[in-house]
Point group: C2
Chain length 322, copies 2
């Protein structure tokens, strides 16, 4: 499917243009939607957005949901019951649905007016992965409904980000091994970030560490860190700071300064140092999380290797009833 | 100040009614705004809402912010620099501002068109505390701009919640001591909840445990638990589940069933069992977090007593530069 055509089709079918973009998923797929929530919440003057874990969307469906709403649902396996049901609910309310999945046989596709069966794996161009597809859909909605001054800059960024990532992955290869050797015996990590990347701080905590490594973890927004969480800071507790380029960098820098003074186990992953600045200033912030996801995959692989705990190991997910 | 008069004044000063309600604060004050974000996101058909940690609102101010927007800023001490600045930014953009603080001399008041210097402490009626004031403001905005079918039921709930809490505090007194004796040596807690109360799961983690007890902690949305976080569940890890009454109860019940099977250190705090059901079904869910805040204060006091770590002890906040 083509992003431009899909949004044009939906736009044409609405009365006065797409009025809401609801982003609905669970876990890692929800994480992939956070940059889009941040983008629309910051850049839109008319289009409304909302980010919902699927089961909450099903049980407490927003009254605003209407026939001019677009509901984007993502499920990697395509059969997550609450995500499929969320898509059903959206259709029952007359909303337009787009489903994203890696599974051509997904139940989700039964309730998707438009579908993206996306590429996956380290060989794919990240612009064809769900995080970037969803962001491109939102940019297209904004452009089509109310205009977006930085549309061309954004498209140029989409053309560059995969190359930046490939370079970045090589740059961090050695340091991820050092990280894993240094912190391989830790049992808890705090992950800090801000802006468009906060969702990936959450994602690295719940997916990469809790789910895939059975490690304790929590995300902390860099802006919130100073209003409670920083009291746990000491020389024994490990922190990973994902430093954005763009408007919220000041928040991450403040956290970095504090951590450098009061903590000792600090890993800084800096999008600027990894070369994200070839993307235009006006849009660069939205690309930080796309970079961070790929870079943090190298970190988690290194950690999994040192800990001898393969990333695929589960004790509950897909194994017991829940 | 009177909630009805303030909203009437602001409404009259807008062109076509209040179009956005932005909720901006840090840490514990931001937590107090979450129920209002949930309320408006779920109940409003026109009014838009957004919840922002103050420094992100300052650095990445939403383009939507305009002269018909209402920006509510809360700071207990009233001088949190980024909250004061957020209020300044809102005023510069021509928006209407309401400031809430416990400090009559607060800098925040210099940038607040309307102010609530609120009551605080266990002797105050919770309807005069910031969480309930902000929720009442939002209900008034909704009622005034687009109507709200359950306005009377909500006002009736406001009249009842303090009594429910007083009963609830007595009900849990003994069990909080048992909890503290049982878990006083634990070093990490996960706090689960959903719906309007998810913000208080976050708040108990970052304020009560991390800030006031220097304990590791993280909140988990009950709906998200099954999509990653539950893989850390075992018989050694403590979980606190705040069970809502209302539409998202099914999410909390699902988490409870799983925890009862695979975990052993589980504390369930159930709003239903604590008597919240005297409030009407249509609005009860919005009152869960008001109850939970007060009830969890009893829990944290019991924990502080057993741990011999007073709730006021800080090592960084207000003590070092940051």
């Amino acid at each position: 499917m083509n992003v431009v055509n899909v949004i044009n089709d939906i736009h044409s079918a609405t009365k006065e243009g797409i009025s809401e973009v609801y982003l609905v998923a669970c876990g890692g797929s929800l994480v992939d939607m956070y940059p889009t929530k941040y983008f629309l919440e910051n850049e839109a003057k008319k289009v409304v957005t909302g980010l919902f874990t699927a089961n909450e969307f099903v049980h407490a469906t927003p009254k605003r949901l209407n026939q001019d709403s677009l509901v984007i649902v993502c499920s990697h396996g395509g059969n997550t019951p609450e995500s499929v049901e969320a898509s059903m609910v959206a259709k029952e309310r007359g909303a337009h649905t787009i489903g994203l999945t890696h599974n051509q046989e997904a139940s989700l596709l039964n309730y998707s007016d438009h579908a993206f069966v996306y590429e996956w794996g380290s060989e794919s161009d990240v612009k064809n992965n769900p995080m970037a597809i969803i962001l491109q859909l939102a940019v297209e909605v904004l452009y089509r409904t109310e205009g977006y001054d930085h549309y061309d800059a954004f498209q140029s960024g989409i053309g560059k980000i995969n190359g930046i990532i490939k370079n970045g992955e090589q740059l961090v290869e050695k340091r991820t091994k050092e990280f894993a050797n240094k912190y391989g015996k830790e049992e808890l990590f705090y992950i800090l970030s801000s802006g468009a990347s906060y969702g990936h701080a959450y994602g690295f905590a719940i997916c990469s560490l809790m789910e895939m490594q059975w490690l304790d973890a929590a995300s902390i927004h860099s802006g919130e860190y100073f209003h409670g969480p920083f009291e746990v800071t000491d020389k024994e507790t490990p922190f990973i700071l994902l430093m954005n380029e763009g408007r919220t960098r000041a928040l991450d820098e403040r956290a970095k300064t504090f951590l450098q003074q009061y903590a000792e186990k600090v890993e800084v992953v800096d999008a600027k140092e990894l070369g994200i600045n070839t993307i235009a200033d006006e849009v660069v912030e939205f690309f930080n999380p796309i970079l961070f996801y790929s870079i943090m995959c190298v970190y988690r692989q290194a950690l999994a290797d040192v800990r001898n705990h393969p990333l695929e190991t589960r004790r509950y997910m897909g194994k017991v009833a829940y």
